[in-house]
């Protein structure tokens, strides 16, 4: 074999090995978290291991549309994950446990299914006792009908209620407010001389004094990011995905737990007074924490902190009550 032929063969084989080997080697050494719309697999991998005290460095990319990345129960800003681009983020965990990471962008009809888990091992530096959610301690049946038999003619006004505030024969504390539905308190006020409208205004006032403008603002932001896609910006259950659910028709139907019948998903209308005035904050806490079993409503217990959930609930009631501006 001529020397030139030999050199050519060596060069070509080396070139092919380089073209195949180098990218494969570098690819294998660059672990990425891939974000895809839930219909195409969601997060991959959807289970990440971490250790308390050791920074967790993540590289995340999107394989389709713009997604967002955030870890529930953590004080962090969500980051955008752009198609074909790599977003890097470092997380520090000071408590062991199972954390949920989730998509924060309305990426598709099943956006809320885009969740993964970070298992953080290690010893807690300061163990915290587990607290039982209020709805559990009240033993509420989250799926029982809870419609209000009476609804006000208009939107009850907290400002009007404030004028009637003196001598209200009810507990104005947080526990009372959280464990009673607006209708229950309306009923509790039946032995007063207040008219029906005044009683509803008093309820609105009670709701207002159990929240703050900061909590409402936080609730509004949480609602806009996480709830409005289905429940609509105005709370009417007409978010952008509500239309998609309707268009998807049978393909978006689900079975309720234990039953075989397919049920059409339909986001709850928070502007419906019959439904909302019959629900206590504790009941809503349960629904948000647990999710709507068998419906499209996801469970948020692993994502929102308790404080965030109360803020969100306070904001949701603003679809029923006219608060002081």
């Amino acid at each position: 074999m001529k020397r030139s032929e030999l050199i050519s063969r060596i060069l070509i084989v080396a070139g092919i090995l380089l073209a195949v080997g180098a990218p494969l080697f570098l690819w294998a050494r660059t672990p990425l978290i891939h974000a895809r719309m839930a219909e195409d697999g969601g997060w991959s991998p959807d289970l990440i291991q971490a250790e308390v005290g050791k920074p967790l460095h993540l590289k995340i990319t999107s394989d389709d549309v713009v997604h967002g990345f955030a870890v529930g129960q953590m004080d962090m800003q969500s980051v955008d994950v752009l198609p074909g681009k790599v977003t890097e983020i470092t997380l520090n965990f000071d408590k062991p446990g199972v954390y949920t990471y989730y998509c924060t962008r309305w990426c598709g009809l099943n956006h809320w299914r885009m969740r993964g888990t970070i298992e953080v091992s290690g010893t807690p530096s300061d163990p915290e006792p587990a607290t039982v959610p209020l709805y559990v301690s009240l033993d509420l049946d989250l799926d029982a009908p809870h419609d209000s038999p009476i609804v006000p003619n208009g939107k009850p006004s907290a400002t009007s209620g404030q004028l009637l505030e003196t001598n209200l024969p009810i507990d104005q504390g947080a526990e009372y407010y959280r464990s009673h539905s607006p209708y229950q308190i309306f009923a509790d006020l039946s032995n007063t001389s207040l008219t029906e409208t005044q009683r509803w205004d008093s309820v609105a006032y009670l709701w207002q004094i159990n929240t703050t403008p900061e909590s409402l603002a936080n609730g509004r932001q949480l609602y806009a990011q996480n709830c409005a896609a289905c429940h609509g910006e105005t709370g009417a259950g007409d978010g952008v995905f509500a239309d998609d659910l309707e268009i998807a028709g049978e393909s978006s139907m689900q079975t309720m737990e234990g039953a075989m019948d397919m049920v059409m998903q339909s986001p709850v209308d928070f502007t419906n007074p019959r439904r909302m005035l019959g629900a206590s904050p504790a009941l809503l806490q349960g629904k948000i924490l647990r999710g709507g079993m068998g419906t499209g409503m996801p469970m948020w217990g692993s994502i929102f902190t308790e404080e965030q959930i109360w803020d969100l609930i306070a904001y949701i009631y603003s679809f029923q009550f006219e608060y002081e501006r």
Binding site: E5, L18, K85
Partner: protein
């Protein structure tokens, strides 16, 4: 017609005669090609950030259709890496002359397929799936790999470059449009070829291989089937092969009479029109149909695509030339007069390609630094923002290309009509109508 022999310039002649410059380019192209396959298979599925999509369907396509084909004809084929592994395997050598006994089956390609119908079909197959192919890296990776393996497979069964000559979906239209290019490989003196013993340019010699494209250079009258591989320059013992600079579309003065080539012109013309409407137009339903491969809408799109190319365009053309007075049969008039569609089709593709190339060229910078979408920044350009380029000149450039193509076609129609002794008017009117349609779609 005036021609300038480029091979009279010693630098050019030496560069073409030596195997090493071409081999160096081959190695780089092959590495790039294999990398493109790999990038398609393991890189980000986001097409706009994957090397396989950005470099093949934006960078390579831009170079091919805007530069290589119009100015160098089959210049791309001269450096294309696809046939190389198969050819090296077939020869059992890279630079050494082949053994006298073939290593593989070395069959002649079946006679019934020795035309470009298979290339027409392979192009249409890709065209029907193009919406997905052009945007999905792993599909592009699979298609690129399939072409490489098909070329290897055909090289072990058939003699010479059967893949390039009869199957390559790109080679078919490059060959058609290479007739318009201002460059050609031709013999200098026919008598020398007639007297030449052994015809080493076709059969090979110790100096090189017989024409891989199955062409006898002594009979070359048009660029269509000459792959510019330069083997004949190396094997000709009489220094009788020249690479010439010539006027544009010199080959079209003598129109083809082959139906496979005539339909190639319609396929290319029709595809450009459909792409302009479907990929660049404002009709979402068309786009959805083209993208949803396998759906009923896609089937309708496919049938409409094929009907437009094989029925509507040729039927209207036939209707136009039906009443031209000539002693020649209609089939021959059809084939010859369709030559006029070659420059028009090329300019349609130039105009169409300008749209998406200028719109998407900025992706090249980002993909250059991060070819697999793994977060690399090799050359500091990974975060280059998407930015359409030269938008102010796009519409004028497209108009110029289309109107220029129309004038070019009209001139070609005059020559072709002169050859078959009919009036060129129906063909010119036809060209005017389809150009108007293309102008409406693009502007």
């Amino acid at each position: 017609m005036n021609r300038i022999e480029l091979t009279r310039i010693p630098f050019i002649k030496n560069a073409l005669k030596s195997r090493y410059p071409q081999l160096a380019v081959f190695i780089v192209m092959l590495i790039g090609y294999i990398f493109a396959i790999l990038a398609g298979l393991i890189g980000t599925p986001v097409g706009s950030h994957n090397f396989s999509i950005v470099f093949v369907w934006i960078a390579w396509w831009a170079i091919l259709i805007l530069v290589a084909v119009p100015f160098f004809g089959r210049g791309w084929c001269a450096v294309c890496p696809i046939p190389l592994p198969g050819e090296w395997l077939q020869r059992g050598a890279i630079l050494n002359p082949p053994d006298k006994r073939p290593k593989w089956l070395n069959l002649r390609f079946p006679k019934m397929f020795r035309n470009i119908w298979l290339q027409n079909i392979s192009f249409l197959l890709l065209a029907l799936f193009s919406s997905v192919l052009l945007t999905t890296p792993n599909i592009t990776g699979i298609v690129l790999a399939a072409m490489l393996f098909a070329a290897i497979g055909l090289s072990t069964v058939f003699e010479r470059r059967a893949f390039c000559r009869y199957l390559c979906p790109v080679g078919g239209f490059i060959g058609l449009y290479s007739q318009t290019a201002p460059i050609e490989l031709r013999i200098k003196d026919k008598q020398i070829c007639v007297k030449c013993e052994g015809k080493p340019c076709y059969n090979g010699s110790t100096n090189g291989y017989g024409c891989p494209w199955d062409v006898f250079p002594g009979g070359l009258t048009k660029n269509t089937y000459c792959g510019l591989c330069m083997e004949c320059i190396r094997t000709c013992p009489h220094d009788n092969i020249a690479v010439n600079l010539r006027p544009f579309s010199a080959d079209l003065a003598k129109p083809s009479t082959r139906m496979d080539e005539a339909f190639k012109a319609f396929i290319m013309l029709g595809s450009a029109i459909i792409y302009a409407g479907v990929l660049l137009g404002p009709w979402g339903a068309f786009k959805d149909a083209a993208y949803n491969v396998g759906s009923n809408a896609w089937l309708v799109y496919g049938v409409a695509f094929l009907a437009f190319i094989f029925v509507i365009l040729p039927s209207l053309f036939t209707l136009g030339i039906l009443n031209t007075k000539s002693a020649l049969p209609l089939k021959q008039r059809f084939a010859s007069l369709s030559t006029a569609l070659i420059p028009l089709g090329l300019m349609f593709w130039v105009a169409f390609s300008l749209s998406f190339v200028l719109t998407n060229a900025s992706y090249i910078l980002a993909a250059f630094s991060d070819p697999l979408g793994l977060g690399w920044n090799l050359f500091g350009t990974a975060n280059a923002a998407w930015q359409p380029m030269l938008t102010s000149i796009l519409a004028p450039a497209q108009t110029l290309a289309l109107v220029g193509g129309l004038i070019w076609s009209a001139r070609t129609a005059q020559k072709a009509a002169g050859e078959v002794k009919v009036s060129p008017i129906p063909v010119i009117v036809y060209c005017f109508i389809v150009t108007s349609l293309m102008l409406w779609l693009l502007l």
